[in-house]
């Protein structure tokens, strides 16, 4: 079993070779069979959709590595777009609004972290915060004088040839986060706490502080992801990140990061996101109903969890429902 921590060693990266191969295979198949996929417009739109998914998934991956989950990423992405639109009403203009958007993401993340470290179930905590954040974003959206700073957004949306600025930035953040999680002291503590929080606590690691760091980062990256979405839509919309939650969780699980925490490699987020985005692009380009994309994501989510369980050899299909312990002669379930 690939039960080893995320490091920068070849052995750790090699675990994801099938994922990289599958992503490459899909890319080649799409390029060869679909002429529309090869056009520079298509490449640009693929990369532009990929950037926010990758950025948000990095944050999600960090919380899942920590043994938690962040269901508020969608709401935070929406909040960030709304905050950016405040640029006309606050001193400092667009740059200040950009900083404010990231800062609000960080604050939401820290609140999540505080709640989780006080013992509230991370699922419910982030779920509840998502409601609060979405409500707040809807309120801020109605501020009079709020308008998207179009000039600033178009600078953010600059493309070098077919490659958008944010796509380059997403890869940079990914590699940075991967190195940080694998090599830094805090990153290793985060992985250890994700693997077994109690033992990590007994070893004297600062679990509470790490909780704040993990959720804070996730919130900030979700806000950044929201800003990446804006470069495509140019709209302040509190509900813009509705699909981000399932997208990011599906990406992280496809990447082989175990939902129980502590196992997996952050670098695999990239091929996983590519697989999902390329399939989405194929569905769009072949004119298939966009709802198939939604269905695909749901099925993928279950399939990813199932496949990794199978790889771990722990999927057992019990044929008899009413098997109980008493008549059984020896071993119980683990």
């Amino acid at each position: 079993m690939n039960n080893i921590i995320s490091t920068t060693s070849w052995r750790s990266v090699k675990n994801a070779r099938f994922l990289w191969a599958l992503a490459l295979f899909l890319l080649i198949v799409a390029t060869v069979t679909l002429p529309a996929f090869r056009s520079s417009v298509s490449v640009n739109s693929l990369l532009a959709t990929l950037a926010p998914i990758v950025i948000i998934s990095i944050g999600q991956a960090i919380t899942i590595m920590f043994g938690g989950i962040d269901l508020s990423v969608g709401a935070v992405a929406g909040l960030a777009t709304v905050m950016l639109a405040l640029s006309g009403t606050i001193p400092g203009g667009a740059a200040a609004a950009f900083a404010l958007a990231l800062f609000s993401g960080l604050v939401v993340g820290l609140i999540n972290g505080l709640g989780v470290s006080s013992g509230i179930n991370p699922l419910l905590m982030t779920f509840a915060i998502a409601g609060v954040v979405q409500g707040t974003a809807l309120l801020v959206q109605n501020t009079s004088g709020a308008a998207m700073p179009l000039g600033f957004v178009s600078i953010l949306g600059t493309s070098f040839g077919p490659v958008p600025l944010f796509a380059l930035f997403a890869v940079l953040v990914l590699v940075g986060a991967w190195l940080w999680l694998s090599q830094s002291r805090t990153g290793r503590v985060l992985q250890a706490a994700g693997y077994d929080q109690q033992i990590a606590g007994r070893l004297g690691f600062h679990v509470a502080r790490t909780t704040l760091i993990a959720y804070g980062l996730s919130g900030m990256l979700a806000a950044l992801g929201g800003l990446a979405i804006v470069t495509r839509t140019y709209a302040a919309d509190a509900l813009i990140g509705r699909s981000s939650v399932i997208d990011s969780v599906a990406t992280v699980l496809v990447a082989g990061i175990l939902i129980t925490g502590g196992v997996g490699s952050l670098l695999s987020v990239l091929p996983a996101a590519v697989i999902i985005a390329v399939v989405g692009q194929i569905i769009t380009l072949t004119g298939t109903d966009a709802n198939f994309q939604t269905i695909f994501k749901g099925v993928l989510l279950v399939a990813a969890m199932g496949v990794y369980q199978l790889a771990g050899g722990s999927l057992r299909i019990p044929w008899r429902l009413k098997k109980s312990a008493v008549p059984a002669n020896k071993v119980g379930p683990r």
Partner: protein, 322 residues
């Protein structure tokens, strides 16, 4: 249960908190609006909350089993859309439609149950995936525009009073379901087994209780009840919708948690869940009567959930130490 003084002390602290909140909401509502304490009005508010009430029963069952069902909202939408389409088809009546809709709901529940009982997929993600797939499927099939109409016989359920009593049909359905499920949970061996599986699956298994079939039953019941809630919802709203029930996934969890159900399983019950639904229903009415914008209501609901999680967590911790 004979000496009331003893049973009063056995009431869990979470229930005091939950019913205290109900009382606060009712008082706020009563003093701030004209005619606020009229029983007819209070009953109407509860009657409008009947769909939430029924789906909260479903959610509580699943939470007692250490699970979580986020597909209840989409199942409710499915039930609404199906009811409208089927009753509009020639030769169909409510008597043929309702069983079909309930069976469809239960089958989705079976899919959830099989998936979650036999693999180690976390319930939240498994049901989130089911929810996404269902949403995709019905958007695909209806092409974004659900057709059909809600028959007037069904509307009667939500609008009219039964036999000159102040209770509406949906309120009675909700209360009857609540009482039946409550009695089965607390007064039968099957109910006790159900709790034991949630409280400690391994201990239950070692005592000869089959845990997987209980998980399957919990999710099947959840699908069935969600479908019933979906029918009640379109009886109230009058038109099928692709999104109307989306908020019910979160709100049913909130209701169960306010009622003292812990996600760790094994606690919670119908008495508490009733209070949870009542709190949400009255709170919404209070906020609306204060002209609070709907985004703020979202914020308040989220904040109440966090607060109750925190409080219930503290109560559970104190009890564990005592």
């Amino acid at each position: 249960m004979k000496s009331s003084a003893l049973s009063l002390r056995l009431v869990p602290a979470q229930l005091w908190v939950a019913y205290g909140l109900v009382l606060v909401c009712v008082l706020l509502l009563g003093f701030n609006t004209e005619d606020g304490f009229s029983p007819d009005r209070l009953l109407r508010i509860l009657s409008n909350a009947a769909p939430l009430g029924v789906v909260a029963i479903a959610q509580t069952l699943v939470i007692i089993n250490r699970g979580l069902d986020l597909s209840v909202g989409p199942i409710m939408n499915t039930a609404g859309i199906l009811t409208a389409v089927l009753t509009a088809s020639p030769g169909a009546s409510l008597a043929t439609t309702v069983p079909i809709v309930l069976i469809v709901g239960a089958s989705i529940g079976v899919i959830n149950g099989v998936m979650l009982a036999f693999t180690r997929i976390p319930p939240l993600l498994g049901t989130l995936a089911t929810a996404t797939v269902i949403q995709g499927l019905y958007s695909l099939i209806t092409r974004g525009q659900p057709r059909g109409s809600v028959p007037p016989e069904l509307r009667v359920l939500a609008d009219h009073r039964v036999f000159a009593t102040p209770f509406s049909g949906s309120l009675i359905i909700w209360i009857v379901l609540l009482v039946i499920v409550g009695l089965v949970l607390t007064r039968t061996v099957a109910g006790q087994r159900f709790y034991s599986v949630g409280a400690n699956p391994r201990a239950a298994w070692l005592s000869g209780v089959p845990i997987k079939s209980h998980t399957l039953i919990a999710y099947t019941a959840s699908g069935l009840l969600s479908a019933a809630a979906g029918i009640l919802l379109i009886a109230y709203s009058g038109s099928p919708s692709l999104t109307a029930a989306d908020t019910y996934s979160l709100n049913s969890v909130v209701a169960a948690v306010i009622g003292g159900a812990a996600l760790a399983g094994g606690t919670g019950g119908m008495v508490g869940t009733f209070a949870g639904v009542a709190v949400l229903a009255f709170l919404t009415t209070v906020l609306t009567s204060f002209n609070v914008a709907s985004p703020i209501q979202l914020v308040v609901n989220g904040a109440v959930l966090i607060l109750m999680l925190f409080v219930n967590g503290r109560i559970a911790k104190r009890r564990a130490h005592a």
